[in-house]
Subunit: 345 residues, 4 copies
């Protein structure tokens, strides 16, 4: 049994982690910390948890957290908890961090896209929390950097192609469509105001989104140096990211041949499903679950691979991946607490 | 361990039952039957189940069903399986039936709203599957008639008021708002065509919906004879029913006094939550879970009670209620397999 | 030709008025005032107007407004512009006011639901801007109080029944379902945050909404004193209000007989359509247009009338009604600028 | 004044044309033909037209059409009306055709993507109805082939770049996101069933959609031979197509330099708006209007142009373009009847 504390419990990421922790037979939630919600029950903030999680949200205190919990989940925005993470580690508490703070291996990349890094020494210690790429390292670390939601979809769509050297890694384009929950719950902006985004779709932060270096770092780690043009879009759904990825094939291949490379890499993965030739993923098939569906098409006429992945941005794209990593860190079965298959419709 | 067969496995009700059965530690799905989907894996029809339920859908055969399963769930439209249910019972198999066939106690009511009843003798044997009203009888029966989705919402909203004799039962109005999944998956009509129903809301079957006699039967069973005006509406969401119920109070009361009656009846119910004074339920707080949230307001100026309930039409309104009843029939803990708290957003 | 100034041009109500003013052959927009948007083109705030309304939003100044415009539209929240309205009138400028400030005839009702009224003397001068009830008075006034969106739907649904003395006016219940644009654009709250309201529906402000006295004032003016229980709901659509209204019939009647009363009152109304027996309105049939569709059902079993109306909350419920009144005030054909029939889907 | 007949009046394309024709001062609708809707008023099929278009839908008869109308709009699926179009032309009636039948200049391309062409001789006579490319020819023809919705978005996004020779035309990728109305109203499929598509997004027909040759034909006509990888997606909105287009720049350029080419081509276009640097289009900004918004980003790091266009798939993508062409054919001002600026939200 592991006692778990969640800092930033009342955000969408935190609460999605908590709904899975409640079903996990080896976890006990012992500490929830918040900011504007301190003093309320979590179930007052989120009535769907009435009767299943009536814990009171406490003020953020690392001392209390360390006393009450064996492992800490930081579900906070980047640059908010960097120093607390360092302290937690020094107190011997393993950390699962949702922010961007420990994902990039180069402090200079972090500076370019975020700010000066306050604890660059931790960047070598942290492990990028994508078990499909770093399972062994995750199981040995005490600092997991949970990947960004967009990078998870893009990397899982393209990893087998890069790893098997099928594509020209200078031609990669990632066109992603995200649900609105990706913007979180705390900041209320016109961009998430119902009447503004409903019945519309648009691109944003084209070719300059901060998730770009994550995608490039991880794909480059699998083969040739990879550079991507990344275009995120907003679609009016609550949850889900569809990533449509394009790259030029190094040589003519059939879809069946490409699928072999995907099956080679993913056949034993508990949460990745490679779809049969001719099938393409839908985001709703992964809603609420930790699964990722990947389908591919070969455009033989133009010598291009189109690889499409679907995930739930809050689950496999954040809180589910966190749980999967926690299981590895704590030596629990990797799928524990993640059995919920989603639902339809 | 109970081996369960589901007939009509590929409808929305069937598959919602199955996603919960997969998490139920004492159930084993051993037989799935369908119609247009025979020969396919359930996960081919519903890719969200890939890797968790890859059973093949078989042709409907009561012999095979009886051989493979200890208990049968009929997730079929009314008047489709009445005779099969009779046979199943005669073969000693308990039945959980999703249709309207065994809900109404009077064959004449069934005839008025559906057709001549083929097995009226079963109507005394069947139990209306609302555990909050008939827990003890359900645990002793082998034929459970799962309530209609609208009646579940309406009855749970009003039951304490009728039972405690707070309202004039000739003044009851039920104004319900349902998600589109209530129309099922099999019949494709203009009324469920995305572009037609999206961004719109409307009433239908006003004062003549077939769920009306169910509501009246069950409320009348709790106190004075009750007659309702029932108005269903369609709202463009996938899941959920909000039932806003109106009735004249017999004498002036405060909200606190009314809430006492609700707490009296529901305080120990595992799936019903009576909201505090001033709070009102939202359908999304119950999405995917077997919960029902009930809130009330007293309009003191007009001497009226407004009771509002929220449920997921497919879960507490159908498949979850079925599982709750199955647990009672099989003497499992009533909440087994129903722990999923939903999710947000 | 009338030169029109709009104060509060960048709210949803203001901009919906403007899109119709652009198509009105006798109106010229000469002054737009805003608050946080001052200095921007309206088309920068609302790119759908690029090329059709590139006017710059100015600071609010009654002097400038009076100089540039012959008639002023105040599209501002209640209690914001009351004194400016008084000044405008004293400068001889007719006023169309979107707020609640001049709707209630009794200053005490305004105080009970809003605050102490700063200019109670104007309440006798102002006319409630529902042409179907007050056409003649509107055409003679210089101060039109545009009705609230909910009252418009409720009053139009019930007016013929009250006017023809068909119903017991102590039994009226109004159950309304509104799109989210009704909450406006300026205040960003969790209650209008996409991921919170999407895929959900709920009631709010039950039996205490400030639109209640408006409904009662106007219906009472048509016949017996009317008291209503009013329950607003939010549904996840951009535009539209469906009002489902219930009342006990004074004596048994058929739907055809009730429809006669509705046809009597509405047959010549340019924007009201009484649906044939058996038909019920859908909000989307009125989206973007100034129309109101009304359908009725008689629940003969319970002696009740159910009258349902559909409007676009921003158009017939606000800006379209304002234009209809402006046409009357300015002696233009009542339908001028309001010809857009909506669209489907 | 031109008398217009619409064949296929009750489809989404037909009715969108009709709502604009009703506002067109020089058009009179004199003949509406349908199939399953014959004998009904159009306003019975589409209640939003009650009071504005109560014409009765007639059986399809070219003789009657030719007698009653001066110009015929064929709003029918491909290969349905090819011969009727030929007859209409021989009777001296100009034709605006919504289908794919006369868009492709090469009969072999039509055969490859549709079927053997029944009237290949008309392919030289017909003009591709994109005024921004073929204004002069359209004004002289009597057979306009209205472009496909996807091609309109893709071509308008890329035309200036191809025309000014800015991009390598072998690197073009078009990633489009369409609303569900693009699937029409006639065929009811699981793929347009509300509960299936709501809250989800997916790609389909990747690299094999029949609109691909149209895009290639028109772009190639502007400069170098162009080959595209085209990926359509479905998003749960009623109307709108966002086309995100990628191509490698021939040499390093700034966004400002690229925008010059776009302004060169589009500055005087009545319905195209080139957005300022840093701005990107949203589909809802064009909903219901005949406008197209185009924004571009240069990914300098990767030497790529990203051009994004937004249109309403039913209006600029179909019925609005048809009206724009009709105006040219009939020598009316090009914007007549197309003044509706859309609305927000």
């Amino acid at each position: 049994m592991t006692r778990v504390g969640v800092l930033g419990a009342a955000g969408y990421g935190g609460v999605d982690f908590i709904r899975m922790a409640l079903l996990h037979p080896e976890l006990e939630l012992t500490y929830l910390a918040g900011n504007t919600t301190v003093g309320k029950k979590l179930s007052d903030v989120y009535p769907f948890l009435v009767g299943t999680c009536d814990l009171v949200i406490e003020e953020t205190s690392l001392e209390v957290a360390a006393e009450k919990a064996d492992l800490l989940v930081f579900a906070l925005p980047h640059a908010t908890a960097t120093n607390m993470v360092r302290q937690a580690l020094s107190m011997g508490k393993p950390v699962i961090d949702f922010s961007a703070d420990f994902r990039l291996k180069k402090a200079s990349e972090y500076r370019d896209h975020y700010q000066e890094h306050p604890c660059p020494e931790l960047l070598t210690q942290s492990v990028y929390g994508l078990p499909e790429l770093h399972r062994s390292s995750i199981s040995k670390t005490d600092l997991v950097a949970v990947p960004g939601c967009y990078p998870t979809g893009a990397i899982l769509a393209l990893a087998p192609a890069v790893r098997s050297d099928l594509i020209d890694t200078s031609t990669v384009i990632v066109d992603s469509k995200s649900g609105v929950s990706g913007a979180g719950r705390t900041k209320l902006t016109l961009g998430t105001h119902f009447a503004e985004v409903n019945e519309s779709t648009h691109a944003y932060a084209v070719a300059q989104h901060r998730h770009t270096p994550e995608i490039e770092q991880e794909l480059s780690g699998l083969g040739s140096a990879t550079q991507v043009t990344f275009t995120p879009h907003l679609v009016p759904i609550n949850r889900g990211i569809l990533s449509t990825c394009y790259a030029t094939l190094k040589k003519p291949m059939t879809a069946a041949e490409v699928l072999d490379a995907y099956q080679d890499m993913y056949a034993k993965e508990p949460f990745i499903r490679v779809l049969a030739e001719g099938e393409l993923p839908r985001t709703k098939d992964t809603t609420g679950s930790n699964r990722c569906h990947v389908g591919i098409v070969v455009d033989e006429r133009n010598g291009r691979l189109i690889a499409v992945s679907a995930i739930d941005n809050l689950t496999k794209g954040l809180a589910g991946a966190a749980m999967q990593c926690l299981n590895l860190v704590c030596s629990y079965p990797e799928t524990m607490g993640l059995e919920f298959p989603g639902m339809w419709p």
